[in-house]
Symmetry: C2
Subunit: 325 residues, 2 copies
């Protein structure tokens, strides 16, 4: 058993959260992770109310958390706040906020008695999250799949641990980005984190909402096959704010458009082709959204097996198994 | 004591190498690191013969290694090989090769009985280094200062550990990039490395050849203050091959030129200003070449103190000190 302040605070068995991957981390995945002793987060992402209601129903009675993209929730205005209120009324284990000004939504969660966790990519964001009353920070490194920024996980976790020790010793720290097995969990604990948040590892769960073609492509891929780009946002027509791009897998189609994304945005046929491929899971055209940790993941398994395998490996390493003979 | 196959193979006390930072890691720094139980590498870098001879003399009788930039050595032709032969005749503890085709130089080292260590940034480079007979790989993540590439340290180390376990179990693995204290050393061991190579941590040593103004600026900086760019190479007029850029600190001067480096290359006054600032240590203009780990380094100390502090911290963590109370 790996006990940390994170397991104590959230009353969970293992210090592992599954990331709220938009449209991928539904209720079944989150429930499976929570059922196995971690804490599963549903990917509320861009705030699609019907999808969120459906996935909350799928989660059943499992204790799960919900993630939102802050700038998108803000853009939605009153309907966004109504949706957040509806989610908070369900008493989620945690509200997870990323990417943008979060103070208003954090206050709503606090009023509802729901703890807030903030994903941050640098020190300025960490300080903003502390001001907003986050009880936990997720230090997300550039290795992560999906949206993020440029700092690597390794030193960001340690530097944020120092910042919290000085300025907010009661706030918890999780590491995210490139952590897909027990080695990553054990390493994160050494760097000063009290747990980890894993996206890519659980993207490869049976319960994740991922098209079959994407799965096949990703199981054969190295982390070298991923890169950060604005292409996904351009292709989907999502107007992300400055400072964030997205990591996923390269494809020949995408490489042909890199460097001329304005032209892609103005080419309805190319956009339609990419969107159809993304929906169907054609990974030769639309790259699966996974992080560098994909090179550590070789098969699709039940989420519970991924989680228990990760924890068992970390326990063995922490017990001295890092010493090779 | 942290014993690994790396300490056994090289007959050293601690699994810590100092990076061969060009023009910064001279003989005194390398000798101090080796004297304290690690292994110090002299930054042979671009192959400046007089500098290298001087620094070998400064190292005295200490057992140190030498690093070279492979593409630059290849570009130098016969004089480059003559310089390498001269260095190999001094029987360094290791020849460290980075950045480019290394087979020819590795063969020369093997003929001289000198072990070869290769710094790599992805799996293709790792396989090339194995073909060339490297006895150790350094998995260098994007967090590192100086030249490098895009993958983060966290998952690259684990993925290369898997590759070595499958294809070359006798080859050693070191982690580099973002590792500046005992937390990083302990984390690297968890990920499957058998030691670490630290640049930034030893850039901040008394013995490093760093102008005072750069030191002052860096001791106040967060890892957030660094970025990867081609600016340093453009400003110095060094024609680096595709695929590598350099991490160092941002400056207002540099930010003014980002996005128009061709114009900088064509502006003799601006180039002269940057070069003078780099030589004098004016860190408002020419950014110090340090990695994201700079945010973990708060003072200039003797190299021996840096090394023993790092090892003591790692030992405490490996002994269970990661468990906060």
């Amino acid at each position: 058993m790996i006990r940390t302040r994170l397991t104590e605070t959230f009353g969970i068995e293992h210090p592992v959260f599954s990331a709220p991957m938009a449209r991928v981390a539904g209720g079944r995945l989150a429930a499976a992770v929570s059922g196995a002793g971690g804490l599963g987060l549903i990917g509320g992402g861009y705030g699609e109310a019907e999808w969120i209601r459906h996935e909350l129903a799928e989660a059943g009675n499992a204790r799960t958390g919900m993630g939102f993209i802050s700038w998108k929730l803000a853009q939605a205005g009153a309907p966004g706040e109504a949706l957040l209120s509806e989610v908070l009324a369900r008493d989620p284990a945690v509200l997870f906020l990323s990417f943008g000004e979060m103070a208003r939504f954090a206050a709503m969660a606090q009023d509802a008695g729901v703890p807030v966790m903030a994903q941050v990519q640098d020190l300025a964001q960490a300080r903003a999250a502390l001001s907003a009353g986050a009880v936990a920070l997720v230090a997300q490194g550039s290795e992560a799949g999906g949206h993020g920024a440029r700092r690597g996980t390794f030193s960001l976790v340690a530097e944020l641990a120092d910042l919290l020790a000085r300025e907010a010793p009661g706030v918890l720290l999780l590491a995210a980005g490139g952590i897909a097995d027990g080695r990553g969990l054990a390493a994160a604990l050494m760097l000063g984190a009290e747990g980890v948040l894993c996206g890519t590892a659980f993207w490869a769960a049976d319960e994740a909402l991922v098209p079959e073609g994407q799965r096949r492509a990703a199981m054969a891929a190295s982390g070298d096959a991923t890169y950060r780009s604005h292409l996904w946002d351009v292709a989907r027509g999502i107007d992300w704010p400055e400072g964030f791009d997205l990591r996923g897998m390269r494809t020949p189609f995408q490489e042909g458009w890199e460097g001329r994304l304005h032209a892609l945005a103005a080419d309805p046929q190319a956009l339609a082709r990419w969107r159809a491929a993304a929906a169907e899971g054609d990974a030769d055209i639309a790259g699966p959204i996974v992080g560098e940790g994909i090179g550590l993941v070789r098969r699709i398994r039940p989420a519970a097996e991924i989680l228990t395998g990760m924890v068992a490996e970390a326990e063995a390493l922490l017990g001295g198994g890092w010493q090779r003979t």
